[in-house]
Amino acid sequence: MNRIDVMKTYKLYINGAFPRSESGRVYELKDAKGAFIANPCWASRKDLRDSVVAARSAFSGWSKATAYNRGQVLYRIAEVMQGRSSQFADEIVAQEGITTKQALAQVEESIDLMVWYAGWTDKISSLSGANNPVAGSFYNFTTPEAIGVVGAFIEGKPSLISLIASVGSIIASGNTAVVIASEKFPLTAITFAEVCATSDVPAGVINILTGKTPELVGWMGSHMDVDAVDASGLSSKQLTELKIAGADNLKRIHSFKSVKSPDRILAFVEHKTVWQTIGV
């Protein structure tokens, strides 16, 4: 008799732990051929709020960690992803209906992308910082700083690349992330959460929710402790809704086409300029 597989319960990832949705809700996920795959959690507004609290708590530690340290943590994520390649590939095949070979190629590209972002942490300042030659007796410099808690709506396909582009670019500069996985393709995001939990990523730096994007858009937009949102995964109608709600605290809202660009990092930093008086 064939052995019965042990099926996995896909849960949320909040503050370094794997809770179910406090609402008790799940939604059914089917593969490309219509067969049942899993019942991922259907996150509630409360789950979103809990994630923001976790992300805010983690912000001061993560943003003040040295850039070298952050770079090593991002690189560690890539290392652990490598070990789970086949798991990611299986999920991509089930979700996206592509071949194993194509799925493995996506996983490899995703891992390399995370390595690429890992290398950026200690170079962002060189890219966008400045010493400014002001007309006066001052030493004046501008440095990029993390903006705070950044929400992210992940695009559908390719699900893992979209996820890594968003998470890698958000956390590289010291932001913390509240990630809304693609509603249709959430499995890779949850497996990625398991990677984060075993990769020296401090609790709360990355939080991942699965659920219904349309209802989460307004809640994310109106949350006054979210500073910015990567809206790459939203339709234009959802983007407008997010921007209108987000105006309440002037959220920085951006969407990106390129998965591999320093523009993604620079969109979620603030530039601070310090004037120091020179004199004896």
Binding site: S128, K243, E270, H271, T273
Partner: protein
């Protein structure tokens, strides 16, 4: 002790060629508003009318945008970048040549002391044009990849606190990047912008590259909602900034916002106290406190509180309040009756909520709009005068015991535009600067500005920066990375 009195030293207004009425500036010529509606601009130090101004309705804004679009497509967008830069150099030089005239006109219309318009506003405005002129043919090096592109037609809405300087912050980078402009000056301070139009003519700037439509917030909303405007740049209140963000949410328009602030000015017990007192005065009383980045919350360490407050009061008693055209004047007129009412209303809540008011003893002129330099002590973080932007010569004083408490209180605001730190200990200064969530930090100085230095806020103080490479980037679409 002998006291020496100041003799009046009035700056003459004879340098001005004032007109009784002013028109809009569209497509290179002064153009009357189509509907013929007018409004009056007032000298706030006397309350008397200076001139009648054309009010731009939707029709007029449409004409201005059409002129800007035509200039962008046919002339400015195509012009070799070095030539574009030369026009900006010309403008910078013309502003320097006519600096005295601009300073007097600014003081007349705005109410700020001639000392400030002459030494700060106008020279910095010229410097902004000179700085950005040099960028025009070097955009490949602006950090956006090679061959970045302008955005097109830019709508710019500026406030009344630094009328010509805010014009320069907006117009100079926009033109350097190759955009054309429709600018709406503030309702109460349109005159230097309309004089700037004459500078554009003298510079031979092609028609339509700069268009100026005068009016109020409704005029501004026509610009914000215009479908052929590619970008909105706004400086003003956070409430209007949020309204603009909502208004353009379903468009492709890009937006930069420079909004309000409630800056903390932190004085540690190891500060050079006399210097810090000068910095506190400059931080809040510069330009009558009509400054978005004003140091309006003094956070003073408890152990030196008494000394600082005593010295501050002594210094405030020496502030000369009066005729803005007098070269001895330190504090000029409040810009409008409306702003005076706002300051009065908010400071009344300071009394009602239990803070202790002290105003410098000074004689205020009987005509015009005036407010004596004032501090409130015993202010708690929940008081409205500690949370809301007063935008007047009013300082709220709070205290702290530890550096961590100073930072906590400084950051306890939805704003994040600027902050000040006073201490003689370098490592403490930098520690504090690194913890403050604000876009501009002045250490052992305050209210310094420079075209090379990016300015702008965290949080609800706005989107984007003005000045430096970062400010320029807000007027360009990225090239190839």
């Amino acid at each position: 002790m002998t006291e020496f009195e100041y003799a009046p030293a009035l700056e003459s207004t004879s340098i001005l060629n004032l007109q009784s009425d002013y028109k809009l500036f569209i497509n290179g010529t002064y153009t009357a508003a189509k509907a013929g509606k007018r409004f009056t601009t007032v000298n706030p130090s006397t309350g008397e009318a200076i001139a009648s101004i054309s009010y731009a309705e939707l029709d007029d804004v449409n004409s201005a945008v059409a002129a800007a679009r035509a200039a962008y497509t046919k002339v400015w967008g195509k012009m070799p970048a070095a030539e574009r830069g030369k026009y900006l150099f010309r403008i910078a030089r013309l502003l320097q040549e006519r600096a005295r005239e601009f300073a007097v006109l600014e003081t007349l219309d705005n109410g700020k002391p001639i000392r400030e318009s002459r030494d700060t506003d106008i020279p910095l405005a010229a410097a902004h044009f000179f700085y950005h002129a040099g960028w025009a043919d070097k955009l490949d090096y602006a950090g956006l990849g090679t061959n970045p592109k302008p955005l097109g037609v830019v709508g710019q809405i500026i406030p009344w606190n630094f009328p010509l300087l805010m014009l320069a912050w907006k117009v100079a980078p926009a033109l350097a990047a190759g955009n054309t402009v429709v600018l709406k000056p503030a309702e109460t301070t349109p005159l230097t912008a309309l004089l700037f139009a004459e500078v554009c003519q003298q510079a031979g700037l092609p028609a339509g590259v700069v268009n100026i439509v005068t009016g109020d917030g409704v005029t501004g909303s026509y610009l914000v909602n215009h479908p052929d405007v590619d970008k909105i740049a706004f400086t003003g209140s956070t409430a209007v900034g949020k309204a603009i963000a909502r208004a353009v949410a379903d468009t492709k328009k890009s937006v930069t916002l420079e909004l309000g602030g409630k800056a903390a000015n932190i004085v540690y017990d190891d500060a050079a106290i006399d210097e810090a007192v000068e910095g506190i005065v400059n931080g809040i009383f510069f330009n009558q406190g009509h400054v978005c980045c004003a140091g309006s919350r003094l956070l003073v360490q408890e152990s030196v509180q008494d000394e600082v407050i005593e010295k501050l009061k002594r210094r405030m008693a020496l502030i000369r309040v009066g005729n803005p055209l007098d070269k001895n004047t330190d504090l000029g007129a409040i810009n409008s009756a409306e702003q005076l009412a706002r300051i009065t209303e908010l400071t009344n809540t300071g009394d009602a909520e239990g803070a202790e008011r002290w105003s410098a003893p000074c004689d205020l002129p009987s005509k015009g709009y005036w407010y004596a330099p004032t501090i409130f002590t015993g202010v708690s973080q929940t008081h409205r005068i500690a949370r809301e932007e007063i935008f007047g010569p009013v300082l709220s004083v709070l205290t702290f015991r530890t550096p961590a408490e100073a930072v906590e209180k400084a950051n306890n605001t939805p704003y994040g535009l600027s902050a000040g730190v006073w201490s003689e200990k370098g490592s403490k200064v930098l520690w504090t600067a690194s913890k403050l969530r604000a876009g501009v930090i002045w250490t052992n100085t305050f209210n310094k500005f420079d075209p090379t230095s990016p300015f702008g806020g965290f949080k609800e103080s706005g989107w984007g920066r003005e000045g430096g490479r970062h400010g320029l980037a807000a007027y360009l679409k990225g090239g190839k990375n």
